[in-house]
């Protein structure tokens, strides 16, 4: 089971680290192979996969997100920026 972390405990850096690890485990690459400004489709994170990962992010951060979040924010820089915007201070 995924450990729940409340959204506002994250900084941009910690969020990116978590996302990189998560993406790496999906596409079977080492985290240092994932560049945050490269579209995740280039690493083999296909459309359906991106929907699944968005679901994981929802559960992990306890947020309600658009299922197409990663389609519209296709790299980690854009994604973490969008997620930080979605955080509501507790």
């Amino acid at each position: 089971m995924t450990i729940q972390v409340t959204a506002n405990e994250h900084t941009e850096t910690s969020l990116k680290i978590w996302l990189v690890e998560r993406v790496a485990s999906y596409v079977r690459l080492k985290p240092d192979a994932i560049k945050t400004d490269v579209a995740l489709a280039n690493y083999g994170l296909d459309s359906v996969y991106a929907l699944t990962l968005t679901g994981d992010i929802e559960d992990y951060l306890g947020l309600s997100l658009e299922s197409t979040l990663m389609w519209d924010h296709p790299n980690i820089d854009a994604l973490s920026k969008k997620l930080l915007e979605a955080f509501v201070p507790a």
């Binding site: 089971m1 998560r22 999906y26 489709a41 296909d46 679901g55």
Partner: protein, 590 residues
């Protein structure tokens, strides 16, 4: 045997009209007979008289929402109308009907009001739409479709080719799935609604028809467009949203088409029964052999099973549309497989006759060939698994075995309940960890236990609840890397087992709601537990590969019902419709 119509039968459903127009299929003098349909198939042509009758009926209006002037208001009714055509001739079903529907759902999902009116007007005038998605090179991988629409000034410029598209040449308008952004990703494609009249002749060519094993009458062609201009307002909705539109809109057709293709098994069963009633072997009627009876009963049970699953999922598209991604893929995965297996089993009864393209029983080989595309066409089975598998861990965490996690509308399983209007805009890409069917299985299992209704049913239902518990343990632990196209066969097996559990829940709960009705309202056959026990036994075998023993009376009960329906020319599905005008050994009037 009770043979009354179900009280749920909608009086305004136009099935009688369709049957009246098409006439008795067994009468060789009828232009829409099976004989004429086979002759057309041998010529690789659509049955001309059939098309004329469907024009007269105005089948296109069945695909147009009521709000746009058509008759489409419920998916269950849509499926029944389509099934009636498939019972007659799968080529008419696909080549006249379903292929326009597949195109139209894109427009109803994402089109502007003007685009919707344009498509509706064509269908209401019996014109055809072609759905040009498929590129042989990319199969079901929509994100790699190469056909290109590039912005050029005020217009789009179309270049590329599409293959194996029904009616591509004779359709009045096309839905073209095109790359509108060169970048990889999920926002790079769009659908364009393009009218043939607007295509300059020098920009288009149509390669020769693709020769196919079945559906020989259907005009399966290709198209090649070269620097073809298309107006700026051709794109359905917002450019770049094509994948999202496809994944939502095709949830409807992934349920509807298998539900329509079920008509093939209905006619396959009827053809086999006609054969068995005439054929003598070893001094006996073929129908006297226990093996023949077992095959017939199993095929009938599988038809009922398919209809339970299709009907409940079609109802769920109205009632719980947000979970449609998983359930529609589950139907598209399971139902075609069951239909093909049942027809293959029936072919053994016909022996050499099923292999012959001439003679009295030649219809069967055509049905068998025409059924095959149900398995791979419009989303291959593996594509459906790939829709389901990635959602399993979340369903396992959030929904399974948690009776309060997902609300279950009782109307999902009540055939008498009017459905709320269907909304294409309520469909979602993922189920979000909601699973009303899995919840309903556990809830009904508990109620059944409390009531101790049938000694056979309890242990059978327990098999599926146990399976759900094991699935939960296995799926919660699935690592992300096992959720992609690179998933192992073992992980793929989880989605197959899950689909079986969903189907069991649909069947069980449909029966559960039928048996609870006052005697005057329900259907006597559906109320009795014997059919559901056979159906669950069929599904249980898929999980355990060991047949749960049932008393012999079950088989005899289903066989008697099957023969009775054949005698009276009633459909073999849940609705038990009277097939008006069909030759019935003991005739009934409509």
């Amino acid at each position: 045997m009770m043979a009354q119509q179900m009280p749920t039968q909608r009086q305004d459903l136009p099935l009688h009209e369709i049957e009246k127009l098409l006439g008795d299929p067994w009468d060789r003098a009828n232009p829409c007979s099976f004989h004429a349909i086979l002759e057309a198939d041998e010529r690789n042509e659509m049955a001309a008289a059939g098309e004329e009758m469907l024009d007269r009926f105005g089948l296109g209006a069945e695909f147009v929402p009521v709000t746009l002037g058509g008759r489409l208001h419920s998916l269950t009714d849509l499926i029944e109308v389509g099934r009636a055509i498939f019972r007659r001739d799968p080529c008419l079903g696909l080549g006249y009907g379903a292929s326009s529907l597949i195109a139209a759902v894109n427009v109803w999902s994402a089109g502007t009001p003007a685009q919707q009116q344009k498509a509706a007007a064509l269908l209401l005038r019996n014109r055809k739409l072609a759905c040009a998605y498929h590129e042989l090179e990319h199969g079901n991988d929509l994100t790699r479709a190469a056909f290109e629409a590039a912005p050029q000034g005020e217009h789009w410029r179309l270049s590329g080719s599409k293959q194996v598209i029904a009616n591509i040449e004779r359709a009045d308008a096309l839905i073209l799935y095109a790359r509108t952004d060169p970048n990889a990703g999920s926002r790079s494609h769009s659908q364009l609604l393009v009218e043939k009249a607007a295509i300059p002749p020098e920009c288009v060519s149509y390669p020769a028809r693709f020769a196919s094993v079945g559906m020989r009458g259907v005009q399966l062609g290709g198209i090649e467009l070269r620097d073809c201009p298309a107006p700026a307002d051709s794109v359905l909705g917002v450019p770049g949203r094509g994948l999202e539109t496809a994944l939502k809109a095709f949830q409807v057709t992934r349920v509807a088409l298998p539900g329509m293709f079920m008509g093939i098994l209905d006619t396959g069963l009827r053809s086999t029964l006609r054969y068995t009633s005439q054929r003598m072997l070893y001094g006996r009627s073929v129908l006297d052999f226990p093996q023949t009876q077992a095959v017939l009963v199993n095929a009938f049970a599988d038809l009922l099973l398919c209809d339970c699953f299709v009907t409940v999922v079609a109802r769920s598209m109205h009632l719980t549309p947000a979970v449609g991604s998983v359930y529609s893929a589950a139907v598209k995965y399971l139902v075609p497989k069951l239909l093909i297996d049942a027809m293959t089993a029936l072919s053994a009864i016909l022996g050499a006759q099923f292999y012959l393209r001439t003679g009295e029983h030649a219809l069967f080989q055509k049905l068998l060939r025409d059924l095959k595309p149900a398995g791979f066409g419009h989303a291959a089975r593996v594509t459906c698994q790939m829709t389901i598998l990635p959602q399993l861990p979340r369903l396992a965490r959030r929904a399974w075995l948690q009776p309060d996690a997902t609300p279950v509308p009782a109307a999902l399983f009540d055939l008498n309940d009017e459905l709320p209007p269907f909304s294409f805009q309520s469909l979602a890409l993922g189920a979000g960890g909601q699973d009303p069917l899995a919840t309903a299985l556990v809830v009904t299992k508990a109620a059944l236990h409390a009531q101790a209704a049938s000694p056979e049913l309890g242990p059978l239902v327990q098999v599926f609840v146990d399976e759900l518990e094991q699935l939960q343990q296995r799926c919660v632990a699935l690592p992300p890397a096992e959720l992609s196209v690179m998933a192992s066969a073992r992980s793929h097996a989880q989605s197959e087992r899950y689909v079986t559990v969903l189907a069991a829940s649909a069947c069980l709960n449909l029966w559960w709601h039928e048996q609870a009705k006052p005697t005057a309202q329900g259907d006597a056959f559906l109320r009795d537990p014997q059919w559901i026990e056979v159906v669950l036994q069929r599904l249980q075998f898929r999980l355990t590969h060991v047949t749960h023993p049932l008393p012999k009376r079950h088989g005899a009960h289903l066989l008697a019902e099957l023969l009775d329906r054949h005698q009276q020319a009633h459909s073999f599905d849940l609705t038990r419709r009277t097939l008006c005008g069909w030759d019935a050994p003991s005739s009934s009037s409509c």
